[in-house]
């Protein structure tokens, strides 16, 4: 008590007065001046079925529709190829086509996509050859395309590990003076990984031109969102890192396109990263190896079917007189042509050279690998002779 009295006397409080406690921030604290509101919307943003849709460009609506129909057909075709044993595995995005495709279409050609293993459709929407997009899942080669050519990083299997790559690439582009944006995709489960947190933090600290898209499809294999996070939403996670979080209806292609376009523009003009959570649903099982009846009720799936991304867009287009039966047929036929081509090319056995095992381990083959290659060559010759 003595010392307190002594101290108050040094600041010359009137004798007898109780010193008022006025908490002040520690000296090093600086208020953040970022004017952007960081908190996400309280409800997932929707455009379809609201007045806002009147502002949407009809050409964009029709393009999104055609791409969604094609994406759905891609999903059903790839799933069929799995059943025929043509693909080792296929993680379907049926029900998620809107967020996959509308997000990818918000990018410019010079931008980069960092997809997870599920995001084949986003890659195809950017123009990647449908067969090249499937080599990982067919098992003939890990990545069937040149990432630099398409500006699509390899489809990434270890969850969330591609996110720091997206930050690094976007940062490097900015250092070089290029106005390139990176879009990094991750699932709801992936947001629990350390790499997710580290990527967001780096991106915010460096103000890197990155957009993080979380496709919240309800489950990480069998684990529902409630066991993944206690946050009010995944978009809320942005706030702690100092970047805006946006919440959007992931089945509303127009809303996803709008939010992503804004976030990409913001990143491009130097405004830093954004975290977008798209609320959607995985209609199919995790993969063909998964039994979804173990962890979810059929009724839940049916509810989401009523909110199908193609259905709700089709309804809007029809009501506005932009789409009639002919238009629908044209979109379906274009999708069918793509599917037939995919089927035909996937039904041909890929020509593989086992010697490729040693081709790209190092820039220059080591003596050790040359020796092992010789061993395999001898084995293959012996096999051929037998």
């Amino acid at each position: 008590m003595d010392s307190l009295q002594q101290r108050s006397s040094t600041v010359q409080e009137p004798p007898g007065a109780v010193p008022a406690y006025r908490p002040t921030p520690p000296p090093a604290w600086q208020p953040r001046t970022d004017p952007a509101p960081l908190l996400p919307e309280t409800e997932p943003l929707r455009v379809l079925g609201t007045d806002a849709v009147a502002d949407a460009d009809p050409a964009l609506l029709l393009r999104l529709y055609a791409e969604l129909v094609r994406g759905r057909r891609y999903n059903t075709q790839a799933t069929a190829l799995t059943k025929q044993g043509r693909l080792a595995v296929y993680p379907s995005t049926t029900g998620q086509e809107a967020s996959e495709i509308a997000a990818a279409l918000a990018l410019e050609d010079r931008d980069w996509l960092f997809p997870s293993y599920r995001d084949t459709l986003a890659a195809v929407a950017r123009g990647l050859d449908p067969v090249q997009a499937l080599t990982l899942l067919r098992g003939d080669w890990h990545t069937g395309y040149d990432p630099r050519e398409h500006r699509i990083a390899p489809l990434c299997t270890p969850l969330a590990t591609q996110l720091p790559h997206a930050v690094g690439l976007a940062h490097a582009a900015r250092l070089k003076g290029d106005d390139v944006v990176a879009l990094a995709m991750v699932g709801d489960g992936g947001t629990s990984e350390g790499d997710f947190h580290e990527a967001l933090n780096f991106a915010a600290v460096w103000q890197a031109p990155v957009v993080f898209l979380v496709q919240n499809n309800g489950f990480a294999i069998s684990v529902p969102l409630a066991k993944q996070t206690a946050a009010p939403s995944l978009a809320h996670k942005a706030v702690g890192y100092g970047m805006p979080g946006r919440l959007v209806d992931g089945n509303d292609a127009v809303a996803v396109h709008q939010v992503l376009t804004e976030a990409v523009a913001r990143a491009r003009r130097g405004g830093g990263p954004t975290l977008v959570e798209a609320i959607t649903y995985r209609i199919d099982a995790h993969t063909n190896a998964d039994d979804a009846t173990r962890y979810r009720a059929a009724g839940e799936v049916e509810t989401w079917r009523a909110h199908d991304p193609i259905l709700i867009l089709e309804r809007e287009l029809t009501e506005r007189g932009l789409l009639d039966e002919d238009g629908k047929r044209a979109a379906a036929e274009a999708a069918e042509t793509m599917a037939a081509d995919l089927r035909e090319r996937m039904n041909a056995d890929p020509v593989l050279d086992p010697m490729d095992l040693f081709s790209h381990v190092y820039a220059e083959q080591t003596a050790q690998l040359r020796e092992q290659a010789a061993q395999l060559r001898a084995e293959l010759e012996a096999e051929g002779e037998a």
Partner: protein, 348 residues
């Protein structure tokens, strides 16, 4: 032998004879956790999808139902978090059994494994043991896409403070996992995925006696040479030994079961009998467990050796796509080629 009595026909015969239905390795592992949890309330199972789903390989099937979600827990999707939390739980007296969903998805947890799990006893001068089991499905041969087929044992065996074990039979899957859970030290428990569905007449009602960790076993007697192997390569070596018989080679097969601690006694006794040895594993040969084993055998059995200790391993390449994996994995032919090379003559 595990695989001799499998197949639907064998199943039907067994059923007719009133024998127990053959169990798979996955079922034996499940049973080991179940029995351990029933006996000891401090045993907790956790990981991604281990609860409601019962794990992607169904190895934890039914545990959440029987013991509740606090004892068999679906965690958030975060390997570092899972293992890091297990460290804290072990500090407070629990015995966590954690599942890493696939070999290559355990890597985010390496910081916890190497810096804490493996070193805690040593750092605390014995005050704080880490009775944690880290179950890792490993290895190839199931047509998995990339990051689903790594043989990561060399990383684990290179880390002092960890035990590293791997079963090759249904019986051992049960016995070794019970021993691992009972161990007061951390055990990396490598489960050969391509043997998950292998079967035997093992009965959960009369489980195999639990042997302490660290004992190898001779799976096949022979006099001509010793095949030293473990996990997924054990059936390959047994098949090779059968094939070699036709060519006049009588091979002995030693299943290590435990890489750390290493059973020098069983291995060296065998090599001294046969005078020749080949180490077989599917992980990369360079810096792989075979290098260590060949060196140990040479150091201890030099005067008994008729030929250098040879290694048959996976190539020194990242695990290939499934359509090429058969060219990478050491199969019967490669083992037999090595056996032929054992007819080594000094100076040749």
């Amino acid at each position: 032998m595990t695989t001799a009595t499998t197949g639907p026909a064998a199943d039907r015969t067994a059923a007719k004879a009133g024998k127990p239905k053959p169990a798979t390795m996955a079922q034996a592992l499940q049973r080991a956790m179940r029995d351990a949890m029933a006996e000891d309330p401090t045993v907790h199972v956790m990981g991604e999808d281990v609860g409601t789903l019962g794990g992607v390989f169904r190895v934890t099937d039914g545990l959440a139902k029987e013991f509740g979600e606090d004892r068999c827990t679906d965690t958030p999707l975060a390997e570092a978090g899972i293992l890091g939390a297990a460290v804290g739980m072990a500090m407070y007296g629990l015995r966590p059994v954690v599942e890493m969903q696939f070999d290559a998805f355990a890597y985010p947890a390496f910081e916890q494994l190497i810096s804490h799990v493996a070193k805690m006893r040593n750092r605390t001068r014995g005050a704080m043991p880490m009775p944690i089991v880290i179950r890792v499905p490993y290895g190839g041969g199931i047509g998995g896409v990339e990051h689903h087929s790594d043989s990561s044992e060399a990383y684990y065996t290179a880390t002092p403070g960890l035990h590293v074990v791997t079963p090759a039979t249904v019986e051992d899957a049960y016995g070794l996992l019970r021993a691992a859970i009972a161990s007061d030290d951390p055990v990396v428990f490598l489960e050969p995925k391509r043997l998950y569905w292998s079967k035997s007449d093992w009965s959960p009602e009369a489980p195999t006696p639990v042997e302490p960790i660290g004992k190898a076993v001779v799976r096949r007697r022979g006099t001509g040479a010793t095949l030293i192997t473990y996990g997924p390569s054990v059936p390959v070596c047994l098949e090779a030994a059968e094939a070699a018989q036709a060519e006049g080679w009588d091979l002995e097969v030693v299943d290590l079961r435990s890489l750390v601690p290493f059973d020098d006694e069983t291995v060296c006794a065998s090599v001294r009998r046969t005078g020749r040895a080949v180490v077989v594993h599917e992980s990369a040969g360079f810096g792989g467990p075979g290098a260590e084993i060949a060196a140990r055998v040479t150091e201890r059995c030099f005067h008994h050796l008729e030929a250098p200790v040879l290694r048959v391993a996976g190539f020194d390449i990242p695990y290939p796509p499934p359509m090429l994996e058969r060219h990478h994995l050491p199969g019967v032919d490669r083992v037999l080629d090595a056996v032929a090379r054992l007819q080594w003559e000094a100076g040749s």
